[in-house]
Symmetry: C2
Subunit: 302 residues, 2 copies
């Protein structure tokens, strides 16, 4: 069984131009749950001044738990918390998992979360201490692990050090992100091979972008290395903020197509999942970049 | 060194709605050659009644050899010949390689080349005999090897038998096609593993479509099995005739991006290659499906 962490409602939607209402997002998440996705990141406790697309995340999460019986019993929700203030919001909800977000380069950290890497780790410690006290799990995103839009190539050693540092802080999972979609399988293999001797890969999720078509090849390289958790976004929602018109997040549809085609169970009903594509395209106002959403599921795959 | 067989001017353009003039195709092929592509399929000797997009292929090939010094010395051209009539045309040119086209299912064979598989092999024998007499190499395409739009799943044993039968006829290379873009790496690995003990994989090229985003993952699986020749189409030209709006041929741009990023030399200058994307989009009248054409080459890849 491969775990898919569906990041469309958060990472996907927060990079879309059009803002969906909390009601629209609620319906979307309900559909994702009904399609068999087991882990869904539903929102971010951030200021709507910074990320208007995530406005009403607290209201949304509260509503999800108020109507919890409308979702699959087995589905788990999480939300992004950038700081103590966000964590305080999260603690007013029954959310069992929160996520923190860091970067592998100073430039990306400053531009994206407005602090140095060292400062971000101070925030992480505070958030993790609060989470531990209240028995919430913490997932960590480590972005630009394979390349940075500002600094270019990123030293592998630094990436490994940051992963190990995050693991030491006590997060249950580190999602290693190819934020600008530049990774190739060689890089992925090399990183995971070196990491493997220092950290059990059960602690690792891979977060690929399909900006240059390599996402599923990188998934394959990761599977071969032993990774069993992958992030993806419904329909490839989100695009790439660093290349206008380009694809961003790996589409959940494409990921499920490949995994199921390889006999790896995801629990996702692909036809059911795709039945929401037309509605989402209308809501966000453009075609989704997913390949499978366009082509459909062939009859031969069961 | 990995060999790329550029099929954009033939397989790509013949599946585009808009027909390019032989002059436009000449300029396109010149650009492909200048970008470092070493093997280019430039046209098809078929009736323009059946494939209007390939009209003027004889004129085009003749012009290419008349102005041979405008192309890289090392580039090799080929053209599709469906039958004896096409082969007679090819023999009026200095083309050193021709290609024949067969299928793994009776339905696809009948709908695509208007004969049974057995009849297609009779044609192949005639064409190959003529080619041998005139010292031309023959490449064979074997389509719908991983799934058929009419018959669904295709038995692996039949695919292997057809490959071996083609090899026995004396073709120098068999291009195994995932014509509708349904293959996953598991299928690819399984086929190549079984094939390997019967035929040197130097005789094999893989021809993937990116209809469900799996093309580069399938390339990776093929590389791991030992394949060193891949077909692709500039910008992903061609689309998928079996799913409206969906992607077809793997884009050469994406293939080169991944291979070069893995340290595998292709001889192709990716920035140079992409410099023609805007012009091609104008000529064919729509956006190219290539991911890399949209996102561009990041600075970190050298």
């Amino acid at each position: 069984m491969i775990e898919i962490v569906e990041v469309g409602p958060r990472d996907g939607l927060q990079n879309e131009k059009r803002t969906l209402t909390p009601e629209q997002r609620f319906e979307f998440i309900k559909h994702l749950s009904a399609s068999g996705l087991k882990r869904i990141e539903v929102g971010a406790f951030v200021s709507p001044k910074w990320v208007p697309q995530m406005e009403g995340s607290l209201q949304l999460v509260t509503e999800i738990y108020r109507r919890r019986d409308e979702f699959a019993k087995t589905v788990q929700f999480s939300a992004l918390v950038p700081n103590v203030k966000g964590m305080l919001d999260a603690l007013t909800t029954p959310l069992k998992e929160v996520a923190i977000f860091g970067a592998c380069t100073e430039s990306f950290s400053k531009k994206n979360i407005n602090c140095t890497i060292a400062e971000s780790f101070e925030r992480f410690e505070q958030v993790i201490a609060m989470a531990r006290k209240h028995k919430r799990k913490v997932r960590a995103y480590l972005s630009v692990a394979f390349g940075c839009p500002y600094e270019g190539a990123v030293p592998e050693k630094r990436v490994i050090d940051l992963i190990l540092k995050l693991a030491k802080l006590g997060v249950h999972e580190i999602s290693i992100g190819d934020t600008i979609g530049v990774a190739t399988p060689k890089q992925v293999r090399s990183l995971l091979k070196k990491l493997k001797s220092r950290l059990p890969l059960t602690k690792v999720a891979m977060h690929f972008h399909d900006t240059r078509g390599t996402a599923l090849a990188n998934v394959l390289a990761s599977l071969e290395a032993g990774v069993e958790v992958f992030d993806s976004s419904f329909g490839g929602l989100g695009g790439c903020p660093y290349a206008k018109g380009a694809s961003g997040n790996l589409a959940t549809d494409d990921l499920v197509y490949m995994l199921e085609g390889m006999g790896l169970k995801t629990g996702v009903d692909l036809n059911k999942l795709l039945s929401y594509s037309a509605r989402m395209q209308e809501e966000i106002g453009h075609k989704l970049p997913s390949r499978t959403a366009e082509a459909g599921v062939p009859r031969l795959v069961t």
